[in-house]
């Protein structure tokens, strides 16, 4: 096994160099932006995990619409999405005989119906917090609050538990100005907004000497930022080889200009480049639709349109790679069943999670539906029948080499969900 510090070994660099020269012979096959870095050896590393966090509490009830539950229509006289065969101008696209997809998510309908995407409904954290900050924080740290002193994130611990599987300085990226909480604890995770902007400024004739000088000072310092700085310098070295401006998505995939679109496009590029990317995190939102949520013309509609376009683009762009890529979409909580007086919805509890992968169960929606009858609600909210950690555990077990789920989700005994399979 390689060392645990995440430092790249000389041997690994040489392997990368060898891989590069081997490709020289068939260079014509590879576009200029794509150095084919080949950091990870096949079979050791699992899927690249792409984690999309819908910030603000996305309204899962209007995304995966329970059109078969009358109480949904009673609770939402203004905001409800119509039944698939209704005369409503805004109606759900049937996923099965009970659930339908919000029409603004149409680009994903085909993925659901062809077994490339599944939704797990009435899922979420058993913690009862309705606070965005606490709920996001707990979910990203992978705890329900009972276990004190967990400062790191669940993905950070997953990367620590599998260190040695891959050794690229780009194992983990948060496409953001700041590292997401979920990646905390793994020092070599990098936060970056774009590959193109990721280079050292100053006197360009002396870039190497400057990087070496800074690197020496940061290594010398005993402060907690020296390790993150080290990761930054190693990533700089690698990123210098990638010309993202030359990247053209495959299969006519069209990302939009949002941070989500940019993040997914660059993730796709790094996956194709074989840069050793194991985890990428992208945020979307804000989904905190207390007012003016709307149906086909409100705040939620715009968000779902962008979300769906970009997810579909990512899937199509990576069509030949999806066997080794898993996308998971989650949010800190759902929204209250009853709509409020401002044309919106307040903080709720249960929600839907989403997985895109050819290895998902051939069921568009997985749910032990608790019902929306007031007798079955939790404080007016959708109950949670699937712990989000069960979904993530299944995903790590079946799609990554991680065998230590106890470290990732301390104190949690995972149950099978049947959402994603090994092969």
């Amino acid at each position: 096994m390689t060392n645990n510090t995440g430092l790249i070994s000389r041997r690994q660099w040489l392997q990368a160099a060898t891989a590069l020269s081997a490709i020289g012979a068939t260079r014509a096959l590879w576009p200029a932006w794509l150095p084919r870095l080949a950091f990870a050896s096949d079979g050791v590393v699992g899927d690249t995990l792409v984690c999309i966090f819908l910030r603000g509490g996305a309204d899962g009830l209007n995304m995966i619409v329970p059109f078969g539950d009358d109480n949904y229509y009673k609770a939402r006289p203004v905001l409800a999405i119509g039944q698939p065969d209704s005369s409503d101008s805004v109606k759900a696209l049937a996923l099965d005989d009970f659930f339908g997809l919000n029409p603004d998510m149409r680009p994903l309908h085909e993925l659901f119906m062809n077994g490339h995407m599944t939704a797990i409904h009435a899922a979420g954290s058993p913690n009862v917090s309705r606070s965005h900050f606490e709920a996001m924080d707990l979910m990203e740290r992978g705890t329900n609050g009972a276990e004190a002193g967990i400062g790191s994130g669940w993905l950070g611990r997953h990367l620590m538990a599998t260190s040695g599987a891959g050794d690229s300085p780009l194992r983990a990226i948060g496409w953001s100005d700041k590292l997401p909480t979920s990646l905390r604890g793994y020092v070599s995770a990098n936060a970056m907004q774009s590959i193109a902007d990721f280079h050292l400024h100053g006197d360009t004739r002396q870039t190497d000497q400057m990087a070496a000088t800074l690197s020496a000072m940061y290594q010398e310092s005993s402060t907690p930022i020296n390790l993150t700085a080290d990761a930054t310098f190693r990533a700089l070295d690698l990123v210098r080889q990638i010309d993202i401006n030359q990247y053209h998505p495959a299969n006519h995939a069209r990302y939009d200009e949002s941070d989500l679109g940019l993040g997914l496009k660059q993730t796709a590029a790094l996956i194709k480049a074989g840069a050793g990317l194991e985890v990428a995190c992208v945020d979307h939102g804000s989904y905190d639709t207390h007012v003016a949520q709307g149906r086909s013309d409100g705040l939620l509609s715009g968000l779902l349109t962008s979300l769906s376009q970009n997810l579909r683009a990512f899937h199509d762009d990576l069509l030949d790679y999806m066997g080794k890529v898993t996308v998971v979409v989650m949010s800190e909580f759902g929204r209250r069943v009853q709509e409020n007086g401002g044309g919106g919805t307040d903080h709720g509890h249960g929600n839907a999670m989403y997985i895109i992968s050819p290895h998902v169960a051939q069921t568009p929606v997985i749910a032990q539906w608790p019902g929306l009858n007031s007798d079955f609600l939790a404080n007016g909210d959708l109950q949670i029948t699937t712990d989000y950690r069960d979904v993530l555990c299944e995903l790590l077990t079946n799609r990554t080499p991680n065998t230590d789920l106890g470290i990732v989700f301390p104190g949690h005994t995972p149950k099978s969900v049947g959402a994603i399979l090994k092969d």
Binding site: H132, R184, H290
Partner: protein, 508 residues
């Protein structure tokens, strides 16, 4: 009839601003307003940072050249008192710099009149949002009322309002002027009350939607979780619902001022944190809630924890916490008294390092190098990319104040220092050679490195810092840079840039 800002007035305002800039007035003001440097800069030495530099890194946005000596001569306690009596601190030079901003004194109605005016496309909103952020940065860099500005920053985070939610930005400009600034060093009660009557806050946290038949709990929840008691401060979901009922009808009118809508108010009896609020109280219900929250022991604990975290350490030491909570209790939450306790505490000087957040890094860099900043938008865009644009944190918990929230993005921090030294920050000018002369180091490269190190770090360079930087300065030839020629001077500039980008300058 209220005066509505007409398109003509707006254009005239714009034009006068443009003419001012075109005639070079702004540059003249910037030059005149730039702080004077002493002829000879006194430089601290020794292996550890000078204690006054520590004070200026916590109670101010970092020392300016010459400031250390000034504060030392005045005496640290006296300086603290002077800073607490901030209204007596002369800030004329800053006021001149602020005059260029159109929205400096606009009221909510003036600001709102820009809304929807299709003559100006999206530019009007940008103007309002940018100017408040620009003024904030200019004040942090140039104000002599440094402790006051640090506290304005603290309360801006504590009562965080995201400018870009709907039309919040029109009211946030007023909130900054009428809520945060007048009460930043007053009693916590007055600040909380002002904030609870702030159209910006009520709009941002949806209390403007909170009516009897459709209660909206957003503000009720956050006022307890984030502004007073803290998340584990001892309230229940039921308390949130009751506080929301008390606050029904607290909103704003068309002029963008606070207004209580009695028709929206739930006038039944409520119970908040064990206190019964009798039926029929009207607007007074909300006022009573604020009293209950201010007087709750969790509030002193929660706010003091955040203050000590800001000024002392990510994990607030218990003894300083206890001292601050005691002062809170004996002074009825007097913010000045609490700061006096905190900054004069015997353990203050030995506080562990705090990682500078991007805003603090930028401001301290500009101050340390006596940079002139013309107050433009580009620096705000840069802060945005570094994740720390003022008033742009989307959630009401405010920007994180612990190193863990910021330690993973080193490249932009490093590039900021390199860009500054290479005069590549738009609208920012530094004159290293002027500073070098005042340190008697403009002719000797080695001395320049040593003295610049003492100037910006308030201590001697460590042997490693010195060796590493000197190794870069001398390059592959190993020859000492000659400060008489352009190449030698540039090499030393790059070296000083690396010093500013080094780990030592990342901490305050």
């Amino acid at each position: 009839m209220k005066t509505q800002l007409s398109r003509r007035t707006f254009l005239a305002t714009l034009a006068s601003g443009t003419m001012l800039a075109a005639s070079g007035c702004s540059q003249v003001i910037d030059r005149v307003a730039q702080p004077d440097l002493p002829k000879e800069l006194w430089l601290p030495s020794g292996a550890t940072r000078h204690p006054i530099a520590h004070l200026l890194n916590r109670a101010a946005y970092g020392p300016r050249p010459g400031q250390l000596e000034k504060v030392q001569r005045m005496g640290r306690e006296k300086w603290i008192e002077h800073q607490l009596d901030y209204k007596d601190v002369d800030d004329d030079a800053l006021d001149w710099r602020l005059r260029r901003y159109d929205t400096l004194n606009w009221n909510a109605q003036d600001l709102m009149s820009l809304n929807g005016s299709d003559d100006f496309g999206g530019g009007d909103k940008d103007l309002v949002a940018y100017e408040l952020a620009q003024m904030t940065l200019v004040r942090a860099v140039f104000s002599e009322r440094q402790l006051y500005e640090v506290m304005v920053g603290f309360w801006t985070d504590h009562f965080s309002i995201y400018q870009f939610k709907n039309d919040v930005l029109y009211f946030k400009t007023v909130d900054d002027r009428a809520v945060i600034r007048p009460h930043a060093l007053s009693k916590f009660r007055d600040l909380l009350k002002a904030s609870a009557h702030s159209p910006a806050m009520l709009h941002y946290l949806d209390n403007t939607e909170n009516e009897k038949s459709h209660p909206n709990e957003n503000y009720a929840r956050e006022i307890m979780e984030l502004h007073t008691l803290g998340v584990h401060g001892g309230y229940t979901e039921k308390d949130i619902q009751e506080v929301a009922r008390c606050l029904t009808g607290w909103g704003k009118n068309r002029q963008g001022e606070f207004e209580y809508h009695s028709a929206w108010h739930d006038d039944g009896e409520k119970t908040v944190l064990g206190h019964t609020i009798p039926a029929g109280g009207g607007k007074d219900d909300g006022d009573q809630v604020l009293e209950i929250l201010v007087n709750h022991p969790s509030t002193a604990q929660f706010v003091c924890t955040k203050l000590v975290r800001r000024f002392v350490a990510d994990d607030p030491p218990q003894n300083i916490m206890d001292a601050c909570v005691n002062t809170w209790q004996s002074t009825d939450g007097d913010i000045r008294a609490i700061l006096r306790t905190l900054l004069n505490h015997p353990d203050f000087d030995s506080a562990p390092p705090k990682l500078k957040r991007p805003f603090e890094l930028m401001v301290s860099l500009l101050r340390a190098t006596n940079a002139n900043y013309d107050g433009n938008r580009d620096m705000i865009n840069l802060l945005d990319r570094m994740g720390h644009r003022p008033f742009a944190w989307a959630t009401p918990d405010g920007y994180p104040d612990k190193a863990t929230g910021w330690a993973n993005n080193m490249l932009p921090r490093i590039n900021l220092a390199l860009d500054l030294i290479n005069q590549e920050l738009s609208g920012v000018k530094i004159d290293v050679w002027d500073v070098a002369e005042r340190m008697d180091a403009e002719r000797n490269a080695e001395k320049l490195l040593h003295n610049f190190g003492r100037l910006v770090l308030a201590r001697d360079l460590t042997p490693t810092e010195n060796a590493t930087l000197w190794n870069f300065a001398t390059g592959s030839s190993g020859k000492k840079p000659n400060l008489k020629d352009e190449k030698g001077r540039d090499q030393m500039l790059q070296t000083l840039g690396l010093l500013l980008a080094s780990p030592a300058f990342q901490w305050r």
